[in-house]
Amino acid sequence: MQRIGDAPALRRLLIGAAVALSALFLLLPLVAIFAQAFSQGLATFWVNVSDTYTLAAIGLTLFVTALTIPINLVFGVMLAWLVTRFTFPGRRLLQTLIDIPFAISPVVAGLVYLLLYGRNGWLGGWLDAHDIQLMFAWPGILLVTVFVTCPFVARELIPLMQAQGSREEEAAVTLGASGFTLFRRVTLPNIRWALLYGVILTNARAVGEFGAVSVVSGAIRGETNTLPLHVELLYQDYNTVGAFASAALLALIALFTLAAKAGLEWRAARREALA
């Protein structure tokens, strides 16, 4: 039976247009990143990547990301468990509130943290008196990174856990499983792939966050400069090849994220086909 848009000529035209536009607007920029990064050869790329300040920026970015992931993992699992396994007043509101970071411009997100914890903020005065510096130091970068990435794990888990329902878990409780055993043996196997994808998304955003981090970081080379901020600094210094060398590292993480997503989707589709 013929369906809409099945005529061979129309089909070819639409596929051709989609592929051409995607190549121009998505693939070309991706290729350009690596072309620029390697434009002066592999040796220059290596010199740029192993530069002291670049290494420091990579270190800081990995450090902040390594702290962000477990924090948001625990919060995401707890929140998803709470809103999908219990009913209580305010459940809807809570689900809406976790979307706040998606609605807020990154610069505004950085600003609200700066206002609260910065020298003029109402908590900042107290922190200052106790000699604790959060803003323009790594704790500030960590705080805003946790803020902008906190919806990802919860957002991946909530629809899945809602669809799965709680029958298996209730059965486990009836059979006498403790809370921890229940989670490890029943819940975790059911949600592990969504959990993994949530972590991958958190990782990608944590590594790449720019707007919010640039407000609270101060971008001191070797100290509070994350990799995306380092890209900006080099680019403003007219060191284009150096900027793109660091950008290529970030693009590699993005490519890994895309591959992981495609892999997980392929796995889910295959399981559905087998079931």
Partner: protein, 290 residues
């Protein structure tokens, strides 16, 4: 729908009392509420605190300053163009990815998520380099008299790039779930492709298309990293509102930054609320007014 999933309460024989079967209510409630209060809500009080000292007149003076108003016009205009371009591009890509099979389809599908995965600063310097006068695209467009970098067009381009996934990913699942019979019936009755698409398919996609376009618009309004490199940042001409907040901060004008930020925040929250309400109304209408 969610009642079944969330209904793990067991009624006890005593009227008015229920007990939760699954463990961890107290723990998950405690952690979630603490996190939401400290990470999401507490920082917003800082904004309120800064603005509390302002009179309405002073507040209005800041947010209606000529340079700031120019930035609203640029941001809103470029975001609208970016969202509309994405509506067309997203609809085309969703259609091609759902309806046709061709070599490289999986790679094309994966490529759609690139703008979300790629750090915005990386997207920003890449687009600025590509479209500058000696970049690949800049050189190709120069003979046509088209200047993209450091103009308004560049801002719209960067916004469009970062918000590509919204329309594709909201329309795609709806198109996948459309039953075959719908367009077979239209074709049997002899409708031409264009007419059949407009009359039969489009009405089903409309809510997803509007939602995706709306989300792309909201995202574009707040975009910063991808835009500032290609924008040129000339006052009154290519300055976006996020940059105005950033500039005020660098001048240590926290009050000015807060005032503009509150206007941006109110606009995006109002838009998101409108999208949600509209979506809810449309879904109710589809399901017969419940």
């Amino acid at each position: 729908m969610s009642q079944r999933a969330a209904g793990s309460r067991l009624a006890l024989p005593f009227p008015g009392r229920t007990q939760r079967v699954l463990p961890g209510f107290g723990l998950s409630l405690g952690i979630s509420l603490t996190f939401v209060s400290l990470v999401l809500l507490l920082p917003l009080t800082g904004l309120v605190g800064q603005l509390a000292g302002l009179s309405l007149g002073e507040y209005w003076a800041i947010i209606s300053e000529a340079r700031v108003v120019a930035s609203y016009a640029i941001t809103l205009g470029a975001a609208a163009v970016a969202a509309l371009v994405n509506a067309a591009f997203g609809l085309l890509l969703a259609w091609v990815l759902v309806r046709y099979d061709f070599p490289g389809k999986r790679a094309l599908d994966a490529l759609m998520d690139l703008p979300f995965a790629l750090p915005t600063a990386v997207a920003g310097i890449t687009l600025a380099t590509l479209y500058s006068s000696n970049g690949w695209m800049g050189q190709a467009l120069a003979p046509l008299g088209l200047e993209v970098a450091y103009t308004w067009v560049g801002i719209a381009l960067a916004m469009a790039f970062t918000s590509i996934p919204f329309v594709v990913r909201t329309v795609q699942p709806i198109l996948e779930d459309l039953p075959h019979e719908i367009d077979e019936a239209a074709m049997t009755l002899g409708a031409r492709d264009g007419v059949a698409f407009r009359r039969v398919i489009l009405p089903h996609l409309w809510p997803a298309l509007v939602t995706g376009t709306g989300l792309a618009f909201v995202r574009s309004l707040g975009e910063f990293g991808a835009v500032i490199f290609i924008a040129g940042n000339m006052p009154y001409e290519t300055e976006i509102t996020s940059l105005m907040i950033f500039v005020k901060l660098q001048e240590y004008d926290y009050v000015g930054a807060s005032a503009i930020a509150s206007a941006v925040l109110a606009t995006s929250l109002a838009l998101l609320l409108a999208i949600n309400l509209w979506q809810g109304r449309f879904i109710r209408r589809l399901h017969g007014g419940n």
